[in-house]
């Protein structure tokens, strides 16, 4: 029995991979759904802050991610656009990552078409520029010199939505959906701290622990961490809007739940094997 347990502890990693694949695929295939319970936390803080913004406020939404992190961040983008556009909050979007432009555009056009919002009046996509933190600092003094045109090539000076927006300080909030660098830390340091603009955002689950310090000091008003954050936000947005389209994060929570349980099972098996071997070797001495 002891030898069997120790053999379990040396399971080939391919077996682990197969079981993980089943743990993720089966809940999705069987359309398992688990209730999402919203607790006090960074997601709710973010939602409440956006809800408190008055109609006509102007928000800068930065899509700082690429297709590899789309499964976690794109649902956040869609839910955020839904909330902002429903409240008639103007969205000026941009990207610090090259592929963020088209991913952002997908979210904006989908929600804009469903709600009848107009490009250049209710939202605009300025596009991508290289530079990261340096770019943010330049935008702090003059956006028009950094983005003279939007990503379609139209001059932003002629757009109704850009009326009165000359620098970062003219925005009521900045939201960054960030998968790495440049991303939320750059926005917090270069925009939030310098120009006192409320910063919100979304990030992958693996990065979320590093943003709790910003939340604690008030440098961020809230953030959405990973698929859970996206599912929370989808749930909160849908609770207020009957006709909000279904998101993709909520179904993913069932798969994530089963996957977490499988990982915990492996860890327990590994520890039982380890303790059994330790006991056997200790006894042999």
């Amino acid at each position: 029995m002891a030898t069997f347990i120790e053999k379990l502890g040396n399971t080939d990693r391919r077996v682990i991979f197969i079981l993980m694949a089943l743990a993720v695929v089966l809940p999705l295939a069987l359309r398992m759904n688990l209730p999402i319970l919203i607790d006090e936390g960074p997601s709710k803080d973010h939602y409440d802050f956006v809800e408190a913004l008055p109609e006509g406020s102007r928000v800068l939404l930065s899509f700082d991610y690429d297709p590899s992190t789309m499964p976690e961040l794109q649902p956040m983008a869609v839910a955020l656009c839904q909330q902002l556009m429903t409240k008639n909050i103007k969205i000026v979007s941009m990207a610090l990552w090259p592929m963020g432009v088209s991913l952002g555009n997908e979210a904006l056009t989908a929600i804009s078409d469903s709600l009848g919002r107009e490009e250049y009046v209710d939202w605009v996509n300025l596009g991508y520029k290289t530079g990261g933190g340096v770019l943010i600092v330049r935008m702090g003094s003059d956006i028009h010199s950094v983005f003279p045109t939007d990503y379609n090539g139209y001059p932003i000076a002629d757009m109704p939505i850009m009326d009165g927006i000359n620098k970062l300080g003219d925005f009521d909030m900045i939201i960054s959906l960030s998968a790495g660098d440049p991303g939320i830390p750059a926005w917090v340091m270069m925009a939030g701290d310098r120009y006192n603009i409320p910063i919100g955002g979304g990030c992958t689950a693996v990065s979320s622990p590093q943003f709790y310090p910003y939340l604690d000091t008030g440098q961020m008003v809230g953030f959405l961490g990973g698929l859970k954050g996206a599912a929370d936000y989808e749930t909160m947005v849908r609770a207020e809007l009957d006709d909000a389209p279904p998101g993709t994060a909520t179904p993913g929570m069932a798969a994530q739940s089963v996957a977490h349980l499988v990982i915990m099972l492996f860890i327990i098996i590994g520890n039982i094997a380890y303790l059994s071997e330790k006991k056997r070797k200790g006894g042999a001495k």
């Binding site: 590899s68 340096v134 622990p209 709790y212 977490h260």
Partner: protein
């Protein structure tokens, strides 16, 4: 000398508002250099793979695949619709680049499982405490945690907001101190090995 001058200008413009334009100019130069550097990398990529193909180096058969992919995206982006939806570039981006990127990211799920299985051992009380915290946070991050016990998400959030936050701050402060010291060494020329070779 260049490092010293540019470093001092950037520090000066942070504290002396009247010199802000100098800092903004250097920032613009950085943006221009960063944009131009894209060509450097592309040229290097082409050179390395052409060399492999020409001399039939080991694994040279992968090189034409790389070069074809590069050429296809470059040509379609420049001449066939650019980033417009429905164009050839957009099609290849949506149907190839996006799924491939998501596939690579999804490998993490498997690697986390195998790394956790191999490395998470309760070898002493500290490791055991870490293990228990990991279990609580893993459960707290998914709906199943709340279904098992309604307080799990609260405990998980406490772990993230108190011990995790303390650890994150400590690492951030230490790394920032290291960054400051390294930057000062480089600006004042005490550290020059990043320029090439060693002292």
């Amino acid at each position: 000398m260049i490092t010293f001058v540019t470093g001092m200008i950037m520090i000066l413009q942070f504290f002396v508002p009247a010199t802000q334009t100098m800092g903004e100019t250097i920032q613009e130069w950085f943006m221009i250099i960063a944009s131009a550097a894209i060509f450097l990398g592309t040229i290097n990529l082409i050179q390395v793979h052409m060399h492999k193909v020409r001399y039939k180096a080991r694994n040279w058969k992968y090189s034409p695949v790389t070069l074809t992919g590069l050429a296809a995206m470059l040509v379609s982006g420049l001449f066939f619709g650019g980033i417009e939806q429905g164009g050839a570039f957009d099609y290849m981006f949506q149907q190839m680049v996006v799924p491939m990127g998501a596939t690579m990211f999804s490998l993490l799920a498997f690697f986390v499982a195998s790394a956790a299985f191999r490395a998470f051992r309760a070898s002493n009380w500290r490791a055991t405490l870490l293990l228990l915290s990991a279990f609580i946070v893993m459960l707290g991050r998914v709906p199943i945690g709340a279904m098992i016990w309604h307080k799990i998400p609260m405990v998980s959030e406490w772990i993230m907001q108190v011990p995790n936050l303390a650890g994150q701050r400590a690492v951030m402060i230490g790394a920032a101190m290291g960054g400051v010291a390294t930057s000062l060494r480089m600006i004042f020329g005490i550290e020059r090995s990043y320029l090439g070779g060693t002292d």
